[in-house]
Amino acid sequence: MLLMVLFGMACSSTTASDSSKTSNEGTGSGPNWSSSGGAISPGVINTGGVMAGGGQPVTPPEVEQTLSFMTPQAGGKYVYVANPTRDTVAIIDSITLAITEVTPGDGPTYLATVPGKDIALVINAGSGTLSILRDKVVAQASLPVVKSANAIAIAPDGVHAVVWFDASRASGKTLTGSIQDVSLVNLTAGAESSYTLTVGFQPSSVVFSNDNQAAFVITKDGISKLVFAAIQGDAIAPLVRMTLANPIASKPDAGAIDSGMGTDSGMMVDSGLFLDGGLIVDGGIEAGLEVDASPVATSIGSIPIDVSVTRNGRYAVARREGSGEIILVDLESKVVRTKELPGILTDLDLWHSGSKETDPVYVFAVLRNKGSLVRLTIPDSFSANGTTESWNYPQETIGSVSIGEAGKFAILYTTALAVPRILVLPLQTVSIEPLVVTLQKSIRAVALAPDEKTALILHTKAPGNASAPGLSLEEQLDRSYGYSVVNLTGGIAKLQLTPAMPDPFVMTPDSTQAFVLLRDDASNVRIAERISLSSFKAMDFPLGSPPNGIGTLSAASGRVFVSQIHSEGRISFIDWNHDKVETVTGFALNGRIRQ
């Protein structure tokens, strides 16, 4: 599963983010879930395989990317910018550019907004508290949150939030205390509260059930389940393990996966968590002490990655790097099942075939070295006689799969090898042949527009100067930055070369535009480039300072904001309907205007 994007801040703004990292580990960013894994921006792009000593081709893992945003964070009308050095948050009206400065607490640093609403949460790093901002007002006295908290995930309905310490963003700080705590915050106006819950080791992301009644904290130990209604105080959250101590080797079925038959019956295990006297709160399903069940396990080794949770919160799926094993966890019964596929899994993604509770949910798995896409039904494919469906593309190289929010298409491609092709597979008529789209450059990341009619493909750049003399056109293209826009139904692709790496980007909620930021300080490139998703025409908006973040406001506002590096704080708003740019600089000074 790769890169779920990003139709504006509405998607990503649920998570506080102030840093970026490169990872090939999953961040749990499923199509229907708010990722909490933080910003992952491009790192080293692998453009080709290498040969191992034995002559077997060793290809690097697929590169997972979640292009996210630095501060500021967008609400519906306002943009919120934390300024820890001044102990303030600047609130910028995207229409009038009026700035209000508020002082929520000591060192407001990590900030997140409720999607589409002018509600922001900010962690005051200096005091270890959380402040709630409603419109332009600090709602009430700040709430205590877990020590060193640096991450926020907000439920889509904006009623609950989970605040935790994400060790991946620790930025060299000395760790003290526990990194197994999260704060569950009730954001209900007038009834705000915060409870501390013990979860598995090193939480990395949080997802919410689609009824907004529960959160699932992805940790190294497994998944901790927070059922909001059952939590009335500090407690230990029940943990469903995905890694067990005593493995029982699973045996892949000899059947070919392209037969459509299952390959292996899942091994069942109650991975219940042994809790020594702690209070377990689990939505009333189970409470009290639990005893670890028989140690029947699936495997050991690497930690599960690509963890996704179904919308109803019933199941979680994951994989392990370098393994063919898919893990299915029943979050209610705590039963873990696995399915061993005959090859190394390089990506997973969930697909909800409909919005009803009874509509089947599938997981798509990619086996790059087999050139196969495998579909498993949850949970049936993991039963003893469960079957799978598979599609083989022996002439193609696929390692990643991206499925959009609406689930119209699965996009198959690879970021690990220099293969400039994508396969577009309609999911509702999955038996038909995929549309193969040939691109001009290899792929760094793929993003789907909200309406899933178009995709934005970010390309890799080969080392070297594109303007060096004597290069062929192909070499110049390889050495250039760029992206492509692809019409997913017609297969038309347009390459746009850029003077700098296009990163990050957003797509507008109405699917009419995409924006990419182009920044190269050495060459003084400071551009927000807009791409019409109907005509594929690109238009540049020069910026006054190097851009460092972009996000969309509500569709009604019709505006994208671009934050820029400036000692006094600078942000530009681009009206995508009227091609108008307005810039405001000096957040602190603006906040002190008396009018």
Binding site: L543, G544, E568, R570, S572, K580, L589, I593
Partner: protein, 543 residues
């Protein structure tokens, strides 16, 4: 007509300019300062020592000085902008033994209409006033370096009095202070803003600005003042120059102590019972060094800004829409920019272009910039020329000309005419030592000089048929230190030139002026009025 005095000692009012310093009339009774102010077709002299105004109409066959008393202790006198009327601010007097207190007054004299002066008793002992460019408003304030006459009483230096001459109203306005007090007040052009015709006032103070709508109060509309801090990161910032872009609308501020241009954008908002119907937001646009000058260019609906600083060898083009600054390398550092519309030797299109000089360093290299292409092809858009003399003052003339003159006129050959389109620099030389220089613009573009051999010389700088320069000469009785061409023809159909000597401590004058025909000056038709400051002195008591 607009004229510029190029002699430092000449106490002329620079019309249309924001006042930067204190009035030359600063001080109280007994000061020898005599201020000269043209009032269209006649001339006024404000004698602070006598507390009296003298007005001479050169169109009258018999030259006489009509006179009337000012109120006590005149502090500042100016022509009312846009009118041929005189404004005099008088300090009045505190109550003393045997003398009643007199309020501070602003008096409007209309010598042409001959009406009785209109005096406004002011609600404070203000020491300065500023005017809107149309003369509709005046704002009284306590100038930063002025102290209230007499030294008595407590006052709030952030109180203002706003005079609406059309409505005949004076109302007070107290502005917020962020620790300083008003240093200068400038007015926006009168314009329709957010559906209402209005004039904005900007009060400059150390580290902040105050902005308010001037006419709202007279119209019975409550508006709050907007206070805008300008000191990022604790810098000490002194606003120096204000540019209004009323189309955007936005106000641009150049400030000493800041490497940024401050852009104050105004946006409509819902008016509240106590608030404004617009909001101000601030944007800082980096220009690399403390700017000394800036000018707009481009279409009115989307003006850009060209900014210069003597501290860097580059000029900066700013796009206010994006806050983007484009830095253009320049062969010299410049401190003044003059934008004009015209052709260039390489381009026959009439476009916005700039003439750039360094006056403070008196460099002899000047630059031109083609502003239409400066952002896309900066290296091609800028070219420099070295001329024969160092650049002092620059006066833009009509028909694509400019005049370069020197403050220091001891040497010859330091006056050059610049053809901005051809980019040629014909020098203007004199056979004698030039003592004083004046450039007249408006009714005609003419350079006036005086030499130490009592000769008044002139040259018409703009010659429609581009023939040889038209020159002339008049021998005077003495070398004048004051020269004022009147912009308006008198009742006899002639436009006059007034020359004379101003008072100084070294050579006190009783009022000696010579009147010449401004268009065809000759000694033969010249008339003199001597000792007019003593007019009716016996009848009115001590001179």
């Amino acid at each position: 007509m607009k004229y510029l005095a190029l002699v430092a000692c000449l106490p002329l009012v620079c019309l249309g300019c924001a006042e930067n310093g204190d009035s030359p009339m600063k001080g109280s009774k007994g000061n020898l300062a005599l201020q000269t102010i043209e009032l269209g077709d006649r001339i006024a002299f404000v004698d602070t020592s006598q507390e009296r105004v003298f007005v001479v109409d050169p169109g009258e066959s018999q030259l006489v000085a009509k006179h009337f008393a000012t109120h006590r202790s005149p502090l500042q006198a100016e022509k009312r902008l846009g009118k041929n009327q005189l404004l005099v601010l008088s300090a009045g007097q505190l109550e003393e033994d045997g003398e009643q207190a007199q309020p501070t007054r602003l008096t409007l004299y209309d010598p042409i209409m001959g009406n009785s002066p209109v005096s406004l008793d002011l609600p404070g002992r203000f020491t300065r006033f500023a005017q809107s460019s149309d003369g509709k408003f005046a704002i009284l304030y306590y100038g930063e370096s002025n102290t209230v006459s007499g030294g008595g009483g407590l006052y709030n230096p952030n109180d203002l009095a706003v005079v609406d001459w059309d409505k005949g109203m004076v109302h007070t306005r107290s502005i917020g202070s962020l620790g300083s007090k008003p240093r200068e007040i400038v007015f926006s052009p009168r314009t329709t803003l957010f559906g209402r015709e209005r004039t904005l006032a900007v009060v400059l103070a150390s580290n902040y600005l105050t902005l308010f709508e001037v006419d709202a109060q007279a119209d019975g509309i409550v508006r709050t003042v907007i206070t805008i801090p300008l000191a990022p990161g604790g810098k000490n910032v002194m606003p120096q120059k204000i540019l209004f872009d009323m189309e955007r609308p936005a106000i641009f501020v150049l400030a000493e102590g800041s490497d940024d241009i401050f852009q104050i954008s105004l946006d409509a908002t819902t008016a509240t019972s106590k608030g404004n119907d617009f909001r101000a937001s601030l944007t800082l646009i980096g220009v690399g060094a403390v700017p000394s000058d800036a000018a707009f260019y481009g279409p009115t609906s989307d003006q850009k800004l060209l900014v210069v600083s003597p501290r860097q060898q580059q000029i900066v083009a700013i796009n206010p829409s994006t806050g983007q600054s484009t830095f253009i390398p320049a062969p010299i550092a410049v401190d003044r920019v003059y934008v004009f519309k015209g052709k260039s030797p390489r381009d026959s299109k009439v476009e916005d272009r700039a003439f750039l000089v360094n006056q403070s360093a008196r460099l002899s290299t000047v630059m031109f910039a083609d502003l239409a292409t400066i952002e896309n092809a900066p290296s091609l858009a800028v070219e420099s020329w070295t001329i024969s003399s160092a650049v002092g003052e620059v006066t833009l003339l009509s028909q694509g000309l400019a005049l370069l003159t020197q403050k220091n006129t001891n040497s010859q050959g330091e006056i050059s005419l610049v053809n901005l389109e051809d980019r040629t620099f014909p020098p203007i030389e004199s056979g004698g030592r030039i003592v004083n220089t004046w450039v007249e613009t408006g009714a005609r573009d003419r350079l006036w000089t005086t030499s130490d051999n009592r000769r008044l010389n002139y040259v018409d700088l703009v010659n429609p048929d581009k023939a040889a320069l038209v020159t002339g000469e008049v021998v005077l009785d003495s070398v004048p230190s004051m020269l004022i061409p009147l912009p308006k023809a008198s009742s006899d159909g002639h436009r006059y030139l007034v020359v004379g000597k101003t008072n100084s401590s070294n050579s006190p004058s009783f009022g000696d002026i010579t009147i010449l025909d401004a268009d065809a000056p000759t000694r033969k038709t010249a008339r003199s009025l001597k000792g007019f400051l003593l007019t009716d002195s016996l009848e009115r008591g001590q001179p």
